[in-house]
């Protein structure tokens, strides 16, 4: 195992978050089995007293879960110097079979943890614990994924052997390479670019309509989720080309490096924040008629819609700025 400070920090934090999620998940099972707000039993009163503490601690743990995604990609990027053939995080993640599954799990868990935090935030604003079953049901989905992520992360870091010759990002994200990375790299920019800007426009319009009218939460959430996928594919397909000013370099990780002003962190942060906020709007929609949340939920949804739209527009502004100032032109445009 590589005893890099960031590796130790990631492993320690993953263990802490896993322990907390495990405890909260076990507590959540008790809540789901025994919760009865109309009962004054010792069990019910005890659950009510403890849920505030469990939710608060879990909230902090999941905030760290969000931040750890960025620490993970920073670490993967920083460790590439140890491996022959690696030029960035793409090579490090390819050193063994755990790297990319960990990354994908971290992204999935980022979104789920973000949605959980949104639901928890709303639940604590209702006087009768209106979403307590929902948030612990979601935790029941999140907890195994966080535990799996921790296991895979241990597998990944413990299997980082410096004598392994790995592939560089130019090879992994080559349009000739079979697989998802190659397929994304070979997507035609003539199609992906207009689809990307159209999806951003659709998100903005549906977000504004939701903000003004208070209707179309599911539509906005679905459009926002689609935009996240389209923008992610666009990053590999054509956006990163403007940063590298090379027509064949599709790596989504090199843009994290200082050579490109660490632009990748701003791009990924804005994209993920947009995705979580957009998902939150839809996740809250089924509960807007709960009596104790009527005055709360629409305001939270509206703020989330604004955040999602602003984050996607920030992403678009960063991309557009780079497209305008870059000396690179696709297809002579």
């Amino acid at each position: 195992m590589t005893l890099h400070p960031a590796v130790l920090a990631l492993l320690a934090s993953s263990l802490t978050v896993s322990a907390m999620v495990l405890y909260a998940g076990w507590y959540g099972m008790a809540v789901r089995a025994k919760w009865d707000i109309n009962s004054g039993s010792e069990v019910q009163v005890g659950l009510e007293r403890r849920t505030y503490l469990v939710s608060t601690i879990l909230g902090y743990a999941l905030v760290f879960q969000l931040l750890s995604l960025f620490l993970f990609i920073y670490t993967a990027d920083d460790l590439h110097k140890l491996f022959t053939g690696a030029m960035c995080a793409a090579g490090t993640l390819n050193v063994n079979g755990f790297g990319y599954p960990v990354l994908i799990l971290k992204v999935v868990n980022f979104i789920l943890a973000g949605v959980w935090l949104i639901i928890n935030h709303v639940d604590t604003r209702g006087y009768d614990y209106p979403l307590i079953r929902v948030k612990y049901a979601l935790l029941g989905l999140l907890a195994p994924l966080v535990l799996l992520e921790t296991l895979l992360m241990f597998g990944f870091f413990s299997g980082l052997r410096p004598d392994v010759i790995t592939s560089c990002c130019g090879s992994l994200f080559s349009s000739d390479r079979p697989g998802i990375a190659g397929d994304l790299a070979s997507l035609p920019y003539t199609i992906v670019r207009p689809v990307f800007f159209a999806s951003i426009a659709a998100t903005t319009v549906s977000g504004l309509l939701f903000y003004l009218k208070g209707r179309g939460a599911y539509l906005f959430s679905a459009v926002s989720g689609t935009t996240f996928l389209v923008a992610s594919a666009s990053l590999v397909s054509f956006i990163c080309l403007y940063y590298y000013e090379l027509p064949t370099h599709h790596c989504p990780f090199c843009i994290l490096q200082g050579e490109y002003g660490h632009a990748g962190y701003a791009l990924y942060a804005s994209l993920l924040a947009g995705a979580v906020s957009g998902a939150g709007v839809g996740a809250l929609a089924p509960f807007r008629d709960r009596a104790s949340l009527k005055a709360v939920i629409s305001g939270v949804q509206r703020r989330l819609a604004v955040v999602a739209v602003v984050m996607y527009l920030l992403f678009t502004a960063l991309v557009s700025y780079r497209m305008l100032v870059s000396s690179f032109r696709l297809g002579g445009d």
Partner: protein
């Protein structure tokens, strides 16, 4: 109206030194009346008061408030009342601050600051403007005959003036209910009678008053609409003197 249903309060639950201070108490406290909890030391009066006043939570059982307009309730929801024993802390704070006024055995006034500053303390978290709160406090001090001491530090007050300052502080947020824990324990008979006179004024204004006391001047004063007797954490008599 305050409705207690099978309320039990235990300390150190599940440990060898577990102690149950209040056992299975069911009680309805009517609004606008004076209710006295009577019983010897250790009978659970103070614990029951702290549960009613939302300063502690029961180990089991429910406490409901009816006829109280809480800011977090949706329109029309106040009809059946709401359960305060299960409220999350953020909501409990506003209930404690705006529904109940507390008078403690030792008065618990803050030394080193003036009478007016002491009385204004519970008004600060409500966000009310300082000028209007100050005007209201001066009105209360005037009503209790201690306006001339407004700028005096509390350590310079006599026992009776301390008592009236504590009562004024309990009333500063215009609560629906006043909770007093052994308010006459450290007062002589004259001051105890004066205290009960003030209780009579509060009752005539429609306030609900709940007093824990084993002082005959309190439960035998004739002002008490109901004397609830307690022993060993149990309600032994829910008597009504009317």
């Amino acid at each position: 109206m305050i409705e207690l249903t099978n309320v039990t309060k235990s300390f150190n639950s599940g440990r060898p030194n577990q102690f149950t201070a209040v056992r299975d108490v069911s009680l309805v406290i009517e609004p606008g009346r004076v209710t006295v909890l009577k019983g010897p030391s250790g009978s659970g009066k103070t614990t029951l008061l702290s549960l009613i006043g939302c300063m502690a939570r029961p180990s089991s059982g429910r406490i409901r408030l009816r006829g109280v307009r809480a800011p977090f309730l949706p329109d029309g929801a106040e009809g059946p009342g709401f359960d305060v024993s299960g409220l999350p802390e953020r909501f409990l704070t506003s209930i404690r601050r705006e529904t109940f006024g507390f008078i403690f055995q030792q008065f618990n006034l803050v030394k080193g600051i003036t009478v007016i500053e002491n009385v204004m303390l519970p008004a600060y978290p409500t966000g009310e403007g300082r000028t209007s709160a100050r005007d209201r406090v001066l009105g209360l001090l005037d009503m209790f005959g201690i306006a001339r001491h407004a700028a005096s530090r509390v350590e310079h007050l006599s026992g009776g003036e301390l008592q009236r300052t504590a009562i004024a502080r309990a009333l500063v947020n215009n609560p629906a209910a006043i909770i007093a824990d052994e308010p006459t324990a450290h007062l002589d008979s004259a001051l105890s009678i004066e205290f009960m006179d003030i209780v009579g004024r509060l009752k005539s204004e429609g306030k609900t008053v709940i007093i824990a006391s084993h002082d005959p001047l309190v439960y035998g004063s004739g002002l008490a609409d109901r004397v609830v007797e307690m022993r060993d954490g149990l309600v032994t008599d829910t008597g009504d003197t009317e």
